[in-house]
């Protein structure tokens, strides 16, 4: 069924799917079943890295790149004159299994252009996933993108077989979305998101009573926002993300620096390169919200609507709040330790454990991976009496931090953000 001719289809349909940045394959832990193939690990595993540095963990592919819609930012839009093709559901199921058996991938990420109408497309996608689960007895990871406008019934069926469902918002404000994607509006993306989160909640409730009640998108849902295609500020973007995390219980919001694939369209800005630095800063800010207990308005607000491209958002927050520093490493509350620039979640764990044994000094901290070049201005520990942000004034500390190359290059930032978080092997 898979033959030489599949090479060309794969070339087109993987190329068409590459702009979707979601890559995680985490959040579900599923053992293999008797006679079945595959499992899902709680943290996911990358299997390769593309030459753009992004992790490859899933076979990210479109069922078809035909599309009846005409979104301005999309390479696959109707009005583009590009080679078009479609896989059959059997072909994708087969390719997934063959790649999986060779340990090339952690699972499947399936999306599609809108063929004929949303339900028709969604039906075909669901049939791929169902085939994998029932005919191939496949227990690996599956992420499926919901087609905006698909019926509730099909979304429900998709959620039964997939680990994660997602709907991409792409444009952070409704006005801009309407300008750039005339066939879509906020309702068409937010409605299915609501369906999904309700489905997830209901299934969780049911499973409290019946252990075998069917799962629904057990690894949650995610979405993607395109950054820099519109004039929306980081404040707007992070407010939206924060609302999605709390109200829609999203697992991840992905930020995708806009790549001008349709430079002829004058609704879009002319960019010479995708805004990668801004994208990094947004991921850092998002990280602060998810793992460090920051609220979005502590990071950006109406006075500072955009992230500082030169300094990371945690340092920026600390410089705006000098009165909270210095923090005493040996006594501080863990939540406050989390807010110290240069200290990450890993070193905090070590600090908390080690300070039960003895008082810590800067040499200890260094060994535990604290970035002292940054942290020194915000902490006191046993012997340390260096000048802190209170003595020096925030502007001076800012200069000192900027001058030093200690902030790390974009490359290392990206490295940390995209490297899967893995617990030590048992």
């Amino acid at each position: 069924m898979i033959s030489e001719s599949s090479l060309e289809k794969l070339k087109i349909l993987a190329g068409a799917a590459k702009y979707d940045v979601s890559c995680a394959s985490s959040g579900t832990k599923r053992g293999n079943t008797q006679g079945g193939i595959g499992n899902a690990t709680a943290w996911g595993i990358c299997h390769s890295f593309a030459e753009d540095g992004r992790c490859i963990s899933l076979l990210k592919i479109m069922l078809s790149n035909y599309c009846i819609y005409d979104c301005a930012y999309c390479y696959n839009r109707k009005s583009n004159d590009i080679p078009r093709t479609s896989f059959t559901p059997d072909e994708i199921a087969n390719l997934t299994i063959e790649f999986y058996r060779r340990n090339y991938i952690e699972g499947l990420f399936l999306s599609s252009g809108v063929l004929r109408n949303p339900d028709h497309t969604m039906e075909q996608m669901v049939s791929v996933v169902k085939k994998l689960r029932t005919e191939q007895r496949y227990n690996g990871y599956i992420h499926m993108k919901t087609i905006p406008g698909a019926s509730q019934q099909l979304v429900t069926e998709a959620g039964r077989w997939a680990d994660r469902l997602s709907v991409n918002i792409e444009i952070p404000t409704e006005n801009n979305l309407k300008i750039l994607a005339p066939d879509k509006d906020f309702k068409s993306v937010l409605e299915p998101m609501k369906m999904i989160s309700t489905g997830i909640l209901e299934s969780k409730e049911e499973r409290k009573n019946h252990r075998n009640a069917p799962l629904f998108s057990p690894s949650g849902q995610s979405t993607q926002l395109i950054i820099g295609a519109t004039n929306d500020t980081d404040h707007t973007i992070l407010k939206l993300s924060s609302a999605l995390y709390t109200r829609r219980d999203l697992k991840r919001v992905y930020y995708s620096g806009y790549i001008p694939v349709n430079s002829y369209d004058n609704r879009l800005p002319a960019l010479s390169a995708p805004p990668l630095r801004r994208e990094h800063r947004l991921y850092q800010a998002d990280w602060l919200m998810r793992f460090y207990g920051f609220r979005s308005d502590e990071i950006v607000n109406t006075e500072n609507p955009n992230l500082d491209l030169d300094l990371d958002p945690k340092v920026n927050w600390a410089l705006r709040n000098p009165h909270l520093f210095p923090v005493d490493i040996n006594t501080a509350d863990p939540m406050m330790l989390l807010r110290v620039p240069g200290i990450g979640t890993h070193s905090i764990q070590l600090i908390l454990m080690a300070r039960k044994h003895q008082r810590l000094n800067s040499a200890h901290l260094k060994k535990m991976g604290v970035v002292m070049k940054r942290a020194q201005f915000f902490i006191t520990c046993n012997e340390l009496r260096s000048q802190n942000v209170q003595d020096l004034k925030p502007e001076i500390v800012r200069q000192l931090l900027l001058d030093k190359k200690s902030l790390g290059s974009d490359a290392s930032v990206q490295l940390k953000l995209f490297y899967p978080m893995t617990p030590a092997l048992r």
């Binding site: 898979i2 990358c46 890295f49 790649f99 058996r101 060779r102 340990n103 070590l350 039960k356």
Partner: protein, 254 residues
């Protein structure tokens, strides 16, 4: 100067610790493997591995710290680094001699060092999870081989036997010349003398490959190419994530 030598097995190392306590003499140096080396140093005592003594030390570690810690020690041992045995003896001694559990006392250099090395070993094992590439054979079984930096295959096997429970497979360490074979029931350790594998890239001899194996390798290579966004090209990050020493084994980089 006290010098011990042992057979370079984990049980051997634990026995060595047992002997240190009973002789009240701790090593300044540890030699592993070939006895020939010890001739140079006259006064080396050679430890004979004894499973019962080893087990007592193992249990001692668990009772003074935790089972996790005992396994951590095992994994650090798998690093196979020449300095690892001496470091571990110091560490085990710390654990056994202290009245409270010292495994998280990161103010002690030996604890930090053990944990650092532990992390390196785990990371390498993870890379084997990531970068193992099976080739389908003519008989329908799957073969993969690598030359890991540390001796991590034993740590990786449970992952593969759960995930690929319904296919026969072999994963082989080309550097240490042994591997594991799974026959859909059990996993066994195997050594091949006449492996038909190109040591340069771990590829099986063409006559052993399933008919469509090359096609799937090409499909994977094509996928790898198509998924890259040229505008975001970043060779530095690419190389940081995907260490060059693995490239020769990966169909997508061949």
């Amino acid at each position: 100067m006290t010098i011990y030598s042992f057979d370079n097995t984990f049980e051997g190392l634990l026995t060595l610790v047992f002997e240190c306590y009973s002789r009240k003499q701790f090593p300044d140096e540890i030699l592993s493997g070939e006895g020939s080396q010890s001739v140079l140093f006259g006064s080396t005592s050679n430890i004979v591995t004894d499973d019962r003594k080893a087990e007592r030390v193992w249990n001692g570690i668990i009772s003074r710290s935790s089972e996790d810690n005992a396994h951590r020690i095992y994994r650090v041992f798998l690093s196979g680094l020449p300095d690892a045995p001496l470091l571990l003896v110091k560490y085990i001694r710390l654990i056994i001699d202290s009245t409270k559990n010292e495994e998280t006392n990161f103010s002690l250099p030996v604890v930090v060092e053990v944990n650092k090395l532990h992390q390196k070993v785990c990371r390498e094992a993870q890379r084997i999870h990531m970068f193992t590439r099976f080739q389908k054979t003519i008989e329908g079984s799957y073969y993969a081989s690598y030359a890991p930096m540390y001796d991590v295959l034993p740590l990786c096997i449970p992952h593969f036997s759960d995930r690929f429970a319904d296919q026969h497979w072999i994963i082989y360490d080309l550097k240490r010349n042994y591997g594991f074979l799974y026959d859909m029931k059990t996993v066994s350790r195997v050594v091949f003398d006449d492996l038909k594998v190109n040591p340069q890239n771990g590829q099986l001899h063409a006559s052993l490959l399933a008919e469509d194996e090359k096609l799937f390798q090409r499909l994977w290579k094509q996928y790898f190419k198509s998924i890259c966004i040229e505008e975001r090209r970043n060779d530095k990050v690419h190389r940081q994530h995907l260490p060059k020493r693995f490239w020769k084994y990966l169909p997508e980089k061949l």
